[in-house]
């Protein structure tokens, strides 16, 4: 194929570098610098897709982010991407793309049959039907609706590309690299402020890329190059191209999507970061986001070949493409005339300019006349024809304020309709930053009002529509921004001489009637091209009582497409204003929400995937566990060994082996993950006395005590042992998951409530690796490792600790027990953990020392009836519920949580209380989480008595055991209780929660 619609010269494309690409299976050639849209237009391809509801043929409307129609499926396989606008795809060698949501193809799309039912498929259609018979909704109606859903397809495999994030702080961030933005960046940059300039295009210049201008004696290309060169030479100025500022959040926090490789051929992308999200905190923000041209709403304004006048100008001037050879321009303003003039200059033919204003005059009008272009003032397009491309327009003389135009129709043949309904400043980011908008009658657009954040606006966004005003406004905004952040701008340079035509006047014209009232006949006046919302839909919505603009949007889906209504929102608003006969400012504006344009999930996730999705914490003995076949359990962010299966062992076999080793010989556990907090100061004991439910003042130095912590509501939230290292010094341990929360909570009380207490808390969790050896042979192992330590029961009793040397390492050894067996917990510096572990394994070898994991630990402690916070408790459990009254001081006047114990519900006698359960059949292991009832025959909803919190097969006892919370359980010992499971009901007896060694005789080995 050849590029029949490529102008013979001009454009910012590289004609020496041809690029091959494929669209809908057909091969084409474009040039470097093209977008997919410009290259397709150069090849005469206008039909890119179908609309959502009626599947009408659709083509390219715009040349940038505001494009409502031309979404394609880009690429294939693992890197395919749905719904990318052809206008935003830089052409690269080997690009493949296809139309979305068409079947079998875009030329012949079966679903176009929907068009026949257009009269029925009005706004609100779904709400009013598909209700009978009820059973068919899920079986028939919804599946059919769902099949029609969506545009493109997600890939079916994971994404091979890399994404990441950057964080940047600058004094001045400039959004938009058009003339105003460039000037703003220059002014701020020259002041030496740190500046970030961001633009979504592949090159800076904004509107200057689409127009021909002389600035200070240079053409626009030279002027842009000079500006960029000066900015690039500044060390603290960052320039981001192909980068869209998509979100403007609180406190001048903005997010930018930089597309780093999407314009490269596949082979050059490998190993590179594909997209990067920049998180920017800016002292001042200069918004210079420009303006979008508005379409005109007229009968059948959706045919391929009908596009925005500014887009025509862009295709002609930037890409050297003639989007058509016979163009009709339809406008309500002078500025759009430039598109006609430029097309004609590039070799196209402008057959007529239809201007809906009755009086037209001015520099641009004169220039068009000078080119012998016919100007029909006071006319409008009232219809179009053509199948997959516009072929002619129907033109009528218009009467001001008329609901229909009855004048004679004239048909004009054409292959391109350029339209311009005026300009809407791109207020999206300004709105996102909570700034209020105001409507400017003269300019017929919404402009930024008072900002809520520290920012400036400049250029077309600020209503500065001439280049001269843009340059001046941009410079001022940049200088003001720099000054506000403490920098001194250089003296303002003299304004350059600029050659530009006078933009002239605009006369708003929101909807163009045809020969029949809107909504009658077959003609459709599209407002939102992507969602097929028509002016008639808006009228219907109002008729049905929807008057708020938000209701209208939601009822008709205006602005809910992937373009988020960039070209349709203001037209919809104005049409609504006309119907309600209320001025536009009284209608309100719609809300602009992030993102400005869609952002891939991959970019938003950045590198926070897989192993990076959440920090992984490991102990210093982790490698040993891995090398010895441990399976791991996630506990908070920690990886803890779950159990250590040997070859061929089932999980239960491994657990049995591990548990029996502890009961009969010796086992070893990595307990390094417990939180450890050094608590020091003259008031440390008093502090613990207030924090824990039990008494701490009299604990002797060298002794250890177990404690429970409650929140003020009386509910248990953490537990652990605390050792008194010195009169004024304690070492507290917390649960693995609770460490950070407990430390914050301790600091909260010290810093905000009890500021008179002299206590310091220091986290030492990772200062100490902890190896726990448990079992009747634990003493023998320790003796070998610490021959000099007196570990006799008299001199090293339960709940005490000793400092000394273990395996040649300086260590602290605690005699505490979570298994009920003789246990030594040995603390050595974190970095010596593995050395200690290996020494323990070597010393224990003769006793067949067995490493065990969290699961065996849970079984062993359950045999002893010890709780695990978070398993036996769920935020609704008091110490008394757990049968742990013994640890709640009756003497202390106050401690955290005490007052709550006497509330009427908390003091109830029939609260759920911790008990043991023995199933009638010893082999039945109740599922953890089984619900318990007293009457298994009660009808549903069945009154429930509690639930199983822990349940295991105990190899020690040769049967199952369970812990449960049961209503009034403490007084129900020996009663039967039932667990109605799916398919069977298990009967159990309520027993004491201590199943093994009730007298605690095994503690001493």
């Amino acid at each position: 194929m050849t590029q029949h619609f490529r102008a013979t010269s001009g454009g910012r494309i590289n004609r020496r570098k041809a690029i091959n690409f494929t669209f809908n299976g057909q091969s084409y050639i474009g040039y470097e610098g093209d977008t997919l849209a410009s290259a397709l237009l150069a090849n005469g391809v206008h039909l890119l897709g179908r609309s959502f509801k009626y599947h009408r043929p659709r083509g390219i409307v715009a040349a940038g982010a505001e494009e409502p129609n031309s979404m394609v499926q880009l690429g294939e396989g693992a890197t395919t991407e749905p719904n990318i606008r052809a206008t935003q795809i830089s052409l690269y060698e080997g690009l493949t793309a296809s139309s979305v949501n068409v079947w079998p193809n875009v030329e012949f799309d079966i679903s176009a049959i929907n068009g026949l039912f257009a009269k029925i498929m009005t706004a609100g259609f779904y709400n009013k039907t598909f209700m009978w018979p009820r059973s068919l909704w899920m079986k028939l109606y919804e599946p059919v609706i769902r099949r029609a859903a969506g545009w493109g397809r997600a890939p079916t495999t994971s994404d091979p590309d890399i994404y990441d994030h950057m964080h940047l702080h600058v004094e001045v961030m400039v959004v938009g690299g058009g003339p105003a933005g460039l000037m703003a960046a220059l002014a701020a940059g020259r002041s030496c402020a740190r500046v970030l300039l961001v633009d979504e295009q592949s090159e800076f210049g904004g509107s200057l890329l689409s127009t021909k201008r002389q600035i200070g004696g240079k053409d626009e290309t030279a002027w842009i190059a000079d500006m960029v060169a000066e900015l690039e030479a500044m060390p603290d100025v960052t320039l981001l191209r192909r980068s869209t500022t998509f979100g403007y959040y609180d406190h001048n926090y903005l997010c930018v999507l930089e597309q780093k490789t999407d314009h490269l051929p596949a082979a050059e992308r490998k190993g590179k970061v594909r997209q990067r999200v920049w998180h920017v905190r800016a002292g001042q923000v200069v918004l210079a986001t420009g303006a979008h041209e508005r379409p005109l709403v007229f009968a059948d304004n959706d045919r391929p070949g009908i596009m925005l006048a500014g887009a025509v100008q862009t295709y002609v001037n930037r890409y050297g493409v003639l989007p058509g050879k016979k163009m009709v321009l339809f406008t309500n303003n002078d500025a759009a005339y430039e598109a006609a003039i430029d097309l004609q200059a590039a070799g196209g033919d402008v057959v007529a300019i239809i201007d809906c204003r009755h009086e037209v005059s001015g520099e641009l009008v004169d220039a068009a006349r000078a080119l012998d272009i016919e100007i029909l003032a006071g006319y409008a397009i009232t219809g179009t024809s053509g199948g997959k491309r516009v072929e002619s327009v129907e033109v009528r003389k218009i009467q001001k304020g008329a609901k229909v135009y009855t004048s004679a129709a004239r048909s004009i043949d054409c292959d391109l309709v350029a339209m311009s309904g005026g300009w809407s400043p791109v207020v999206h980011l300004f709105s996102q930053s909570q700034g209020q908008l105001h409507y400017d009658e003269a300019k017929a657009c919404f402009l930024p009002g008072t900002p809520r954040q520290v920012q400036q606006v400049a250029g077309a966004l600020a209503g500065q529509f001439s280049l001269k005003d843009c340059l001046a406004g941009g410079y001022k905004a940049g200088a003001d921004a720099a000054r506000a952040t403490g920098f001194t701008p250089k003296r303002k340079p003299a304004a350059p001489e600029i050659d530009e035509p006078d933009a002239g006047e605009i006369e708003p014209f929101w909807v163009v009637p045809g020969s029949r009232p809107i909504g009658e006949g077959m003609a459709k006046h599209f407002v939102d091209l992507q969602n097929d919302t028509t002016a008639a839909d808006i009228e219907l919505a109002v008729r049905e009582g929807f008057e708020s603009v938000e209701h209208i949007k939601r009822y008709t889906l205006t602005g809910f497409g992937t373009d988020q209504g960039k070209t349709s929102n203001i037209n919809a608003l104005a049409i609504l204003s006309g119907i309600l006969e209320k001025p536009i400012p009284k209608i309100g504006t719609t809300t602009f929400r992030p993102p400005y344009t869609p952002v891939s999930y991959g970019a938003l996730a950045g590198r926070n995937l897989g192993d990076w999705s959440d920090p992984v914490r490991v102990t210093s003995i982790h490698d040993w566990h891995v090398n010895n076949g441990a399976l791991f359990e996630n506990v908070g962010q920690w990886k803890r060994p779950w159990y250590f299966p040997k070859a061929g062992e089932t999980m239960q076999e491994a657990l049995n082996r591990e548990c029996l080793a502890v009961r009969n010989g010796v086992g070893v556990l990595d307990a390094s993950t417990l939180g450890k907090i050094d608590i020091r100061g003259p008031d440390a004991a008093e502090f613990l006395n207030r924090i824990y439910t039990n008494a701490w003042l009299k604990l002797g130095v060298g002794r250890v005590r177990y404690g429970l912590m409650c929140h003020e509501d009386g509910m248990v939230f953490d537990d652990g042992t605390t050792a008194r290292l010195a009169d004024d010094r304690f070492l507290m341990t917390t649960t693995t998951g609770g460490a950070a929360g407990v430390l914050d909570w301790l600091e909260e009380y010290l810093q905000t409530e009890w500021t008179d207490l002299k206590v310091y808390c220091t986290s030492v969790t990772e200062q100490w690796a902890t190896v726990s050896i448990a079992g009747p042979k634990a003493g023998a192992v320790l003796k070998k490792l610490a021959p000099e330590m007196d570990i006799s029961h008299e001199n090293f009793p339960f709940l005490s600790f000793k400092e000394g040397t273990v395996a040649g390492l300086k260590a602290r050894v605690f005699r505490i027990s979570f298994t009920g067996e003789l246990t030594y917990e040995i603390n050595v510096p974190w970095t010596c953990g593995q050395a200690l572990w290996e020494a323990v394994m070597a010393a224990g070898a003769e006793f067949d020392i067995t490493p065990y994991g969290t699961e065996s630990m849970h079984i062993l402690r359950a045999e002893k009836g010890f709780i695990i916070v978070g398993q036996e408790t769920d935020g609704t459990t008091t110490p008394q519920d757990l049968g742990m009254d013994w640890i709640v001081s009756k003497v202390k006047p106050d401690f955290i949580g005490k007052r709550s114990f006497t509330r009427t519900d908390t003091a109830r006698k029939d609260r759920k209380q911790l008990v043991g359960l023995l199933t009638d059949k010893p082999d039945d292991v109740l599922p953890e989480g089984a619900q318990l009832v007293f009457d298994p025959h009660a009808p549903k909803p069945m009154p429930m008595a509690g639930h199983v919190t822990s349940s295991y097969y105990s190899a020690t006892l040769g049967r199952s055991i369970a812990l449960a919370l049961v209503k009034g359980g403490h007084d129900r010992k020996r009663q039967k209780i039932f667990a109605p499971l799916e398919g069977k009901t298990v009967t159990a007896e309520i027993v004491d929660p201590v199943f093994y060694d009730k007298e605690g005789e095994r503690l001493n080995g």
Binding site: E81, P82, N83, K119, I120, T122, Y126, N127, K128, T129, F130, M131, W132, R134, W137, E142, I145, R146, R147, A149, G150, W151, G152, A154, S158, D159, Y249, D250, Y253, V277, P517, L540, R543, E544, G545, S548, Y555, P595, P598, S600, Y601, G602, L604, N608, L609, G610, E633, N634, G714, D874, G875, T904, E928, G929, Q931, K940, M942, M944, H947, P980
Partner: protein, 416 residues
């Protein structure tokens, strides 16, 4: 009320759709009503509807400061389910789900309830324990619930990643097949239309600025459209409950937070159920338009702004891609925020107050949308009888004094 059906649509098509009546009137406020509902969202409109329909109260005004359905009704992720842990929660949400199941027919407005199943994923042994506990509790409470292991999850939702080497692997899930999604706007509009047909005055753009009281009883409200008298006032103002409470001189145990959500661009259907993961904060379903609808966790700080911090969303998408690697090249199209008022126990308040005639329905936190019909039904009962229905008796303000909280925090039941 004109009955909606395909036949009515066809008939109207013949006349160019020029004869559709308004779905609800826009009446001027009267001087006096029997009951005033403050808040024209789903819950408020449902309350008015059931008051009129079930209790015969006809002289009702719903006062809405903006546009009806414009609060959290318009801003949620549309998930409907009833698989809550505690008996009290399960009962009220199950009542709600039962009302959902006949709602389109009841109010003659298709709310597009799509019961395609809700998975709540478990990622740790603790999650599994909680999930199994909830399934068992649900079953005994008459709420449909199943436990699926990881393979079962994959069968039910094939695109989910159940790799054991994932940072937070999927170990299983609870499944409620009757759970699903509904069309959020339609719920407000449908209730509004049905309530209006029963004579309820829905008054939009009418902001309440004061609660009038005499001798410890309410006598009416001051509004931006004048004073309106009523002996009973039901406040259903979601995020703004505290603001109204302050007008009446009472305090509530609620705080308001932003809750963010997002949708992707519409893509061809890839996921045919609702997947929720409380542990990694992912809530996904796909709308009938093809958008992936996703909710995030609440922002930690108090706020009345309908926006939150972006890192909450970025964090959520990282977790999302762990579960659904094929979403990486799908693009986020729109984000938004609502204001939820949350109670210390993550359960709602439907209760009278120390001011006679003043009732509050609030504190639904992130779980409000699914409760809409049940909440309205119970609150209507409470307003009509000046006494709570057994279903909402546990959700009184008194529980904060007695300590009888209904703590859904631990049970992953808090999320959406």
């Amino acid at each position: 009320m004109v009955k909606y059906s395909i036949f009515t649509i066809a008939r109207n098509a013949l006349t160019g759709h020029k004869n559709w009546p308004k779905q609800w009137r826009s009446p001027e406020p009267k001087a006096t009503y029997d009951v005033i509902i403050i808040g024209g969202g789903g819950h408020g409109l449902a309350t008015a509807y059931y008051l009129a329909k079930e209790h015969g109260v006809r002289n009702i005004a719903v006062l809405e400061k903006g546009w009806l359905g414009g609060g959290n009704t318009a801003r949620n992720t549309t998930i409907v389910r009833s698989n809550y842990l505690w008996d009290e929660s399960a009962a009220i949400y199950e009542k709600s789900l039962q009302l959902w199941e006949g709602l389109s027919q009841d109010i003659n407005y298709n709310v597009m309830l799509s019961q395609r199943g809700v998975l709540n994923l478990a990622h740790s042994l603790g999650d599994v324990r909680e999930g199994v506990r909830r399934v068992n509790a649900n079953r005994l409470n008459g709420v449909d619930a199943e436990w699926l292991d990881a393979e079962g999850v994959k069968d039910f939702c094939p695109i989910i990643n159940i790799s054991k080497s994932a940072r937070h692997p999927v170990l299983g899930a609870t499944l409620q097949r009757r759970g699903g999604v509904a069309r959020h706007d339609s719920v407000a509009w449908g209730y509004a239309r049905a309530a209006d047909a029963l004579g309820v005055d829905i008054i939009q753009n009418c902001e309440v600025t004061g609660i009038k009281r005499e001798g410890g009883k309410v006598t009416g409200v001051e509004t931006t459209r004048g004073d309106i008298a009523a002996k009973k006032i039901g406040v259903v103002a979601a995020g703004h409950s505290s603001v109204i409470a302050e007008m009446a001189g009472i305090r509530l145990p609620v705080t308001s937070h932003p809750l963010q959500a997002l949708v992707s661009e519409p893509i061809k259907p890839v996921i045919d159920c609702v997947v929720m993961s409380g542990a990694v904060h992912v809530y996904v379903s796909q709308s009938d338009k093809g958008e992936l609808v996703m909710g995030a966790g609440i922002d930690s700080f108090n706020s009345y702004a309908q926006r939150g911090s972006f890192h909450v969303i970025e964090h959520q998408l990282g977790a999302c891609l762990e579960l659904f690697p094929i979403f990486s090249r799908v693009r986020m199209m729109r984000t938004w925020g609502g204001i939820v008022d949350t109670c210390p126990d993550a359960s709602p308040i439907l209760s009278g107050t120390s001011v006679e005639g003043l009732y509050f329905n609030c504190g639904w936190g992130t779980g409000g949308f699914k409760a809409t019909p049940g909440s309205g039904w119970c609150f209507a009962h409470t307003l009509a009888n000046d006494a709570p229905h057994p279903l909402n008796t546990p959700f009184s303000l008194a529980r904060f004094e007695s300590g009888a909280l209904i703590d859904e925090h631990g049970a992953a039941g808090v999320a959406h």
